[in-house]
Symmetry: D2
Subunit: 143 residues, 4 copies
DNA sequence: TTTT
DNA sequence: TTTT
C-alpha cells in the first residue's frame, strides 16, 4: 500500500515530454505544499517532484502554470542513478494517478490578472479528464 | 489504520455546539465531494457528515459557510442508535483532524460577491489553527 | 478528491455476485477497523461496507474469509434508497480500487489452523491482481 | 494537505537517538513498500526513510526489526543540506504520525523462528501507544 | 436531503 | 450488526 494525497501550488510551470517508445505524454512539475505550523524563519513548504502520465499530463501542461493550486492523489516512487563521476544518487517522485485543478494561472497572462478560481456552474467537473467549463470571463467572481 | 482525505464544498453552513461536560467546541457540516466521472443524470457528488473538534471547530464556524471549499484529513467513524420506534440505525461520520481552507464565502455577504479565494502563495498559511494572512484585498490576484 | 486507506479484518465472509448487464464480478464484505485508543467499554472498531469490482472481487471471494486482514485503498461513496414503507435511508460504502492481502483464513479450515500470514519478503507480490507467491510452507517464518 | 499511508516491511533495524535539546526520542528506519505490478527484472519495491518521534519511536525501537511489517500514516517532508565539498543534496523523509504493527521479528532471535504475527485476542490494540497483548507463544498460530 |  |  502506497497512497499519497497533496494539496499545493506549482512552484514552476509544468514540463511536457513524450516517451521514446510509445510517445506517451509525461508531465513533471514541482509542487510546493505549505507546512501549516511552520514558525517564523523555518522552512514553510515541502517541494515534491510530481510526475503525471497520459491525457492527464497533457491537461496539466495546457491548463496549469506556476502558482496554480492542485490536489493530487498518487504514490511515492523512489529510484537511483549514477552521476557522471560515478556517485550514486537517490530520487523520490510522486506519481500522480489523479490531478484535481483548484485554480490555474492563465498562461498568456501570467503574473498579471490571469488567475481565476475554478468556479464552474452546477455539474462542473474540474478535473483533467473530460476537462471543461472553465471560468474564462474577465470578472473576479470565481463562478 | 483509518485515513481519509477529501476536497469538497460545504453543502450547508456549519453548526457549532459545545460538549456538556468540558464545554469543548464541536462543529458539524455536510461536505459535497464531486465525482469527476459522473455521467449526465447520475449522482454527481457524495455527501459526507464532517465532525470537527476544538479550536479548529471554532475556526470552521467563523470562517466557513455554504459553498466554501475545504480539504479535510481525518478518519471514518461508524456508530448506531435507536429510533423512537426502536429501530436500529447506522451512522457514518468523518472525524476531521485537519481542515484546510481553500476558499470561503463571506458570512455577511453570502450569495453576493463575498467569495474570495484563499491566496495560497508559498508563505500563506491557510489552515484553521493559527489562521491568518487572508487575501482580503480587492484585486483578483490570489497572492 | 476522495481518498480512503483502511487496514482491518473481515467481519464476515465476502459475498460475490455478478452485475445483471455485463456479468461483472462484485464482492462485498464488512471490514472491522480497530480503534487504537478505544477505552474499556467503548466501541473498539469501526465497521465499513467494502465493495470491490472485477478480477479483484473474484480474488477477494477466493482468498479471503472472516478474520482475514487486508489493506484497502479506495473512495467513500454515499447513496440513498427508499424502504418498503417509503422512508428514505442513506448508505455509505467504500469502493475499493485496491485490496492488499495481509493474511487469510483458509476457507476449508476456518477456525482451525488454517490462518497463514502472507509472507511479504521484498519479492513477494501479495495483492489480488496477479495473486501468487503465498507462504504456504509449514514453518512460521513469513519470508 | 500532505497525507501519506504506507504498508511495508522494515529493510533494516530501527535506529534510536534522542534530540540534543529536550531529549525526545527519534527513531528512523528504511521501509520497503512492494510494487504490486512490478515486472520481472524491474525494481519491485520503493524504499522510504521513516522518522518517528516520542513514545512511538521508543515502541518502534523495542518491538520492530528488519523484516517487520507495519502500516504508517504521516506526511512527506523534504529538506536539503550541503556536503563537505559544498554540493547541495536534497532529502525526502516520511514523518510518521502513527505506526501500526502488523508483525514483528523477535529481536533476540532474528533470522530464526522469532517472527510472530500480531494476533491478539479480542480487544487487542496492536499499535505503538498503549502497546500490549503480544502473541509471544511458540506456536505458529497468530492468535 | 445538500455544494461547486 | 460484525473482526483481531
Amino acid at each position: 500500500m502506497n497512497s499519497v494525497v497533496l494539496v499545493g501550488n506549482l512552484a514552476r510551470d509544468p514540463e511536457l515530454r513524450f516517451t521514446a517508445g510509445s510517445g506517451k505524454a509525461v508531465a513533471t512539475f514541482s509542487l510546493a505544499v505549505n507546512r501549516p505550523f511552520a514558525k517564523e524563519g523555518q522552512q514553510n513548504a515541502d517541494f515534491l517532484r510530481i510526475v503525471v502520465f497520459g491525457k492527464s499530463a497533457e491537461n496539466c501542461a495546457n491548463y496549469l502554470s506556476k502558482g496554480s493550486k492542485v490536489a493530487i492523489q498518487g504514490r511515492i516512487q523512489t529510484g537511483s542513478y549514477e552521476t557522471s563521476t560515478g556517485e550514486k544518487r537517490y530520487t523520490t517522485d510522486i506519481v500522480a494517478d489523479r490531478v484535481e485543478f483548484l485554480s490555474r494561472v492563465n498562461k498568456e497572462n501570467q503574473g498579471g490578472f490571469g488567475q481565476d478560481d475554478f468556479g464552474g456552474g452546477f455539474n462542473n467537473n474540474n478535473n483533467p479528464e473530460g476537462f471543461q467549463a472553465l471560468d474564462d470571463d474577465d470578472d473576479d467572481i470565481p463562478f
